[in-house]
């Protein structure tokens, strides 16, 4: 069996590279209150997001909104409902080739 992470196309960067994005200048995902993230014990958005949008660094939740595949998991999954989630502007965000 191959080791995890060694197969072509297996890293999240390679996976996201298969998706066509039209990226807006402004984020459609907003952390409502960074202090809530500081107190959050699990920081589980860093794990459950299928596109690695959320990263905890230097006491701040960083939001790589340009990776977002618009699924909505973070809005529902954040234990403190601390993510303001709207759709990207019309025509922006992901465009699937197959779906």
């Amino acid at each position: 069996m191959s080791e995890k992470g060694t197969i072509k196309g297996s890293s999240i960067e390679e996976k996201l590279f298969t998706i066509r994005y039209k990226v807006d200048d402004i984020s459609h995902l907003i952390i409502k209150d960074q202090q809530v993230c500081v107190k959050c014990e699990t920081k589980e958005c860093n794990d459950f997001c299928p596109a690695d949008v959320y990263h905890w660094r230097e006491l701040t939740t960083h939001v790589a909104f340009e990776n977002c595949i618009e699924c909505g998991t973070c809005r529902i999954g954040c234990p403190d409902a601390n993510i303001e989630w709207v759709y990207p502007k019309g025509g922006y965000g992901i465009t699937y080739k197959f779906g």
Binding site: M1, S2, K4, G5, I7, G9, S10, I12, K15, L16, T18, I19, K22, T42, E44, D47, F48, C49, P50, A51, D52, I69, E70, C71, G72, T73, R75, I76, G77, P79, A81, W85, V86, Y87, P88, K89, G90, G91, G93, I94, T95, Y96, K97, F98, G99
Partner: protein, 433 residues
């Protein structure tokens, strides 16, 4: 100020069905879509069934972009490096035609174009930001276009699983993590001959595999592997509440699914040309909100109309969209767009297979909440595979002894005879109560 008979938010299967039904009856309809084109943001497993679409577009299979006609359906019970298979192949699936694999980007464009050809006005790359109200009734939507207010007698909300408009309407609050699953999927391309050989198919035939068990690592969920013309759709969906607890990254889960020997050998040599993810509404009947009100109706995923047991969502979406369209046509004839008038839509849904199918499985959601998912999705599949291995291994022990041991281990997994009976009873009630 533009005013239309109807504005439909979302050009997926529900919205397109509604728009097509209304446009065919001569109503003026705007079909809104936030993506570059209909289907741009959409994802499903995906299997398309004949019956519900045929009611909307007769003989659609002669023109719709479909992948393969399914002649074989399988359920795999996955152990760690093992699998126990249940499957059914039948030439009868060719007549009457039963179901096909498809791709939403191709299919949704085709379907929405049907509505446009019937006269619906496409307004794509446009987000519906909020509903417009007048005297307590919905009178249209505000879009993100300049001077983008659209007024209509009827607003049909078909904005998908996240349904931000449904939330604004207050008919559902936020979905809970145990009411939705996150599915991640890859489109893995292989030469056509490899697909035919590996799955024992010819020409346009296709096969589906759904798999449950240790591949979801103790989480409530399901995997799927479907054959397309020149690709395989491989995905796994898990309940968001379980995903949260597991602290697993969804794409790592998918990578590990790909390593299962039974899967690996079917996909090997393939090239992933797309990774995708989407939520699936799985709240069941209890999560279905009020479906209509003064000036509005809500359809498809936005209304949680998904039969997750039978991986049916697209057909419930199309049928609910058609019903909403028909209710709109009748309301237009009456000149009455009140809740009382549009309640005809609720009645159509109630009397159809949609509500009946959701009702059949309404207990399942409770069962999944009550029973540790590890038991159902990991320990039982493990025990079943271990028992099958034992029964089929010739090692000098008698078959009677092996059988006794198999039954013993199943009982042990459930926590004793009484618990096994209770669990069996609960399971039976959940799908037949």
């Amino acid at each position: 100020m533009d005013k239309f008979d109807a504005v439909v938010v979302g050009a997926g299967p529900a919205g397109a069905a509604a728009a097509l039904t209304m446009a065919q009856a001569g109503m003026s309809v705007v079909l809104l879509e936030r993506g570059e084109f209909p289907g741009a943001k959409n994802l499903f497993g995906g299997v398309l069934y004949r019956k519900q679409l045929e009611d909307i577009v007769p003989e659609f299979w002669k023109e719709a972009p479909l992948e393969r006609l399914i002649v074989e359906q399988n359920l795999w019970i996955m152990g760690h490096e093992a699998v126990t298979k249940i499957g059914h192949r039948n030439e009868k699936f060719k007549d009457p035609l039963n179901c096909w694999t498809g791709m939403r980007v191709h299919f949704d464009q085709w379907f929405a174009n049907k509505a446009v050809a019937a006269g619906a006005i496409p307004v794509y790359e446009t987000v519906a930001l909020e509903l417009l109200y007048e005297g307590g009734r919905v009178v249209g939507v505000r879009t993100d276009r300049e001077a983008g207010d659209l007024y209509a007698d009827i607003t049909i909300i078909a904005d998908g699983v996240n349904s931000l408009l449904g939330k604004q309407l207050g008919i559902h609050k936020e979905w809970q993590p145990d009411q939705v699953s996150l599915a991640v999927k890859e489109q893995i391309f292989l030469p056509k001959e490899k697909i035919l050989d590996r799955f024992g198919l010819e020409d346009n035939e296709g096969a589906t595999i759904e798999f449950v068990g240790e591949t979801t690592q103790g989480m409530t969920g399901l995997g799927f592997l479907y054959t397309n013309k020149e690709s395989l759709s491989l995905g796994v969906g898990v309940m968001v509440s379980d995903l949260k607890k597991s602290r697993m990254k969804p794409y790592h889960l998918l990578e590990q699914v790909k390593q299962h020997p039974a899967i690996r050998k079917l996909i090997q040599g393939g090239e992933t040309k797309e990774y995708a993810g989407h939520l699936i509404p799985e709240g069941g009947l209890k999560a279905v909100p009020q479906l209509s009100g003064d000036g509005w109706m809500i359809c498809g995923d936005a209304a949680q109309l998904v039969n997750f047991v039978h991986r049916e969502g697209t057909n419930l979406a199309m049928t609910s969209g058609r019903f909403a369209g028909e209710a709109a046509v009748a309301a237009k004839q009456r000149g009455d767009f009140s809740r009382a008038s549009l309640a005809a839509y609720d009645r159509s849904v109630s009397e159809s297979f949609i509500r009946k199918d959701l009702k059949k499985y309404q207990g399942l959601h409770g069962l999944l909440n009550e029973v540790d998912p590890k038991l159902l999705f990991s320990e039982f599949p493990h025990t079943m595979n271990a028992a099958a291995y034992d029964m089929l291994s010739v090692d000098g022990r008698s078959k009677a002894e092996k059988q006794k041991q198999a039954i013993q281990s199943i009982k042990q997994t459930a926590g004793g005879t009484m618990d096994l009976i209770k669990l069996g009873w609960k399971g039976w009630r959940a799908i037949n109560g």
